[in-house]
Symmetry: C2
Subunit: 374 residues, 2 copies
């Protein structure tokens, strides 16, 4: 396929998913209106927070499905939309946990309901808590309805059970990842402390999380529900063999981890014009990444460790952190690690149990990861 065809396929899939989500939100909004205008407004906010995404997880479902010969695009779009709604639920609750009121440059659910309250004269702490409370409710609604989108797919019997099992696995695993992320934040102590504190006892393991712990957390929190299980769901829906489902799962797990590492690298070293997000954000919020886990403990790191997690971090300080991450070899290490996982992903893809169409479909995904590390 040439680029023009690829884009056409991608756009068709995207539209299919948009239709499913639009129908779901339209129904829910109609039901909500019967229970009062403020509840209907919450559903509108939830829909707005779901819109504008790249529909990454639905694309994974549909790509696997079509590459394995599936033709019921509407069913695939429903399964994809279920993963999208799970994604919405997880980020809305993740934002509450991270006390974030902004996402992708706009206010998120918490931010919107906080702003309505402050405009009405409610003091900030109460307004923030109100925003977070409504976001908990909104996330619950998205979470609970993810299953229902699979029920609406028209798929029945053992196939539906297997899709439910995969969605269940996605949620079950990401909850573990979220728990470990919360624990790591605590173990890293107060913002700015780069080494272990008394908090270490809270989770049983001492000190800042290691590279392996971060990798495992990122796998659990993101890779499984964003790559591994959506790909497997597409394969299951296409009635692929267990061996093919397993191979796609291995591909998804590894490419998902590679993606996360690249994302963490871009969050610190990326070109802002390219990534669309500031390279100060991750450092200011003290995001726990492979990059930092590698640097912690190196002698050079001591100089900048105290800056990580400082909301007032300056551009000059960030530049110095980047220099140190080069000196410690952490950047090089993370890049090599991303390449390594991307290569493992590719190995899973060349397994003869997968047809050539699958390799064709996902080669650009692997290439894009490899292309983003030096």
């Amino acid at each position: 396929m040439d680029t023009h065809e690829l884009l056409a396929v991608s756009e068709r899939r995207h539209q299919q998913v948009e239709r499913v989500l639009a129908a779901f939100f339209s129904d829910s909004h109609y039901r909500a209106k019967a229970l009062g205008a403020p509840y209907a407004a919450l559903w509108e906010t939830l829909e707005r927070n779901t819109a504008g995404g790249k529909r990454f997880r639905p694309r994974m479902v549909m790509a696997a499905y079509e590459a394995l010969g599936g033709t019921d695009l509407d069913a695939a779009a429903h399964v994809g939309a279920a993963f999208e709604l799970l994604h919405t639920a997880l980020i809305v609750h993740d934002d509450v946990i991270d006390r974030d009121f902004v996402r992708r440059g706009g206010v998120n659910v918490s931010g919107r309901y906080r702003d309505i309250a402050t405009t009405a004269g409610i003091p900030l702490p109460d307004a923030e808590h109100r925003g977070m409370s409504v976001a908990i409710i909104a996330g619950d609604l998205a979470l609970f309805n993810a299953y229902r989108l699979i029920d609406r797919s028209g798929v029945d019997g053992i196939l539906r059970t297997r899709l439910h099992d995969l969605l269940d696995e996605a949620m079950f695993v990401s909850a573990a990842g979220e728990l470990y992320d919360v624990d790591f934040a605590l173990r890293s102590g107060l913002p700015g402390s780069g080494t272990g504190t008394a908090a270490d006892d809270a989770t049983g393991s001492p000190g800042s999380p290691t590279v392996d712990e971060i990798l495992e957390m990122e796998r659990l929190k993101t890779a499984v529900y964003s790559f591994e299980t959506p790909l497997q769901a597409g394969a299951v829906l296409a009635a692929a063999s267990p061996a093919a489902v397993a191979a796609l799962g291995t591909f998804g797990r590894n490419i998902g981890i590679a993606y996360q590492i690249v994302d963490d690298l871009l969050g610190v070293f990326g070109d802002e014009r390219d990534t669309g997000k500031t390279t100060l954000g991750d450092l200011r919020e003290g995001k726990r990444t492979v990059l930092l886990a590698h640097a912690v403990g190196r002698p050079e790191w001591g100089e900048v460790a105290g800056l990580i997690g400082s909301p007032e971090l300056t551009t000059a300080q960030a530049r110095r952190i980047r220099e140190v991450l080069e000196e410690t070899g952490s950047r090089r290490f993370a890049e090599a690690l991303a390449r390594d996982f991307a290569n493992r992903a590719w190995e899973a893809l060349v397994d003869p149990v997968l047809p050539e169409a699958v390799r064709e479909e996902f080669r650009p995904v692997v290439a894009s990861v490899l292309g983003r590390v030096r």
Copy 2:
């Protein structure tokens, strides 16, 4: 049936539900262990928080089911357990929203994880936020798995779809109720303010919530998922006629509202030795009830309005509030309202579409509500 038989039936149902929940938690714990000990520990905490309840909602499912001739008690117990898990999810998240760290005299999920963190030397605000973060995750797990318990019931086809629809309705409606409760808390302004504030604009309606608004909120937040839909689920599972399902729903809605009003009355006027909870709690947290909604705006109320929601409320002040609630006629009003809803519930029950066994089963429920108001 005599009392002895009633107790035996009740105990048998209880045990059946316990078995289903124990199997579910055992499976989940086993799965969680593979993802790490701290995740398994979270599941243990969730199980502990689910244990010890009265299994009220499962009892509703099973009572309706058996009274309508159902005999597959294991299936009914699974459906009941699904509602129990939904209940757990809702209270765990409700506690986060209310910033409560205690429930039924012990620490809840938030409280447990807060305490682990403070013991490890984490400062209180961070420890509290950590507790609440883990509780958000725990509630998500309970919520997401409620559906799965229906899938495990062995029920299939259209029947399963209808049970899913009822569980969906339960969650959909209770989310609206929770939203309105959050909004009412805001409209009531800061703790202690008994009249409207600038916050009124935040939800469009001015002033403290009215009696009708409180009734609607309590119906949405509690009555539908605790009474109406569990009873209907039991009836659907027993293959009852649509008319019988509707009559049981009407019964459930009305008895559920009556129950809430009685609960609110007991929270202020109850005998502590009888209810097991302090009659200061509801007043100290400023719980929005029909009782208070009726009193707001009466001239006598001005004297005590400022005390509501004060965490330092004394026994003497609470006594004075009770006296005023008698003087304003609010207690009498709430009691009459509870009786009225209980009578409406009974009217639904005498509908000839319901067999005599249903009346026999639920007469004690109506009697217990009527017996608890003067």
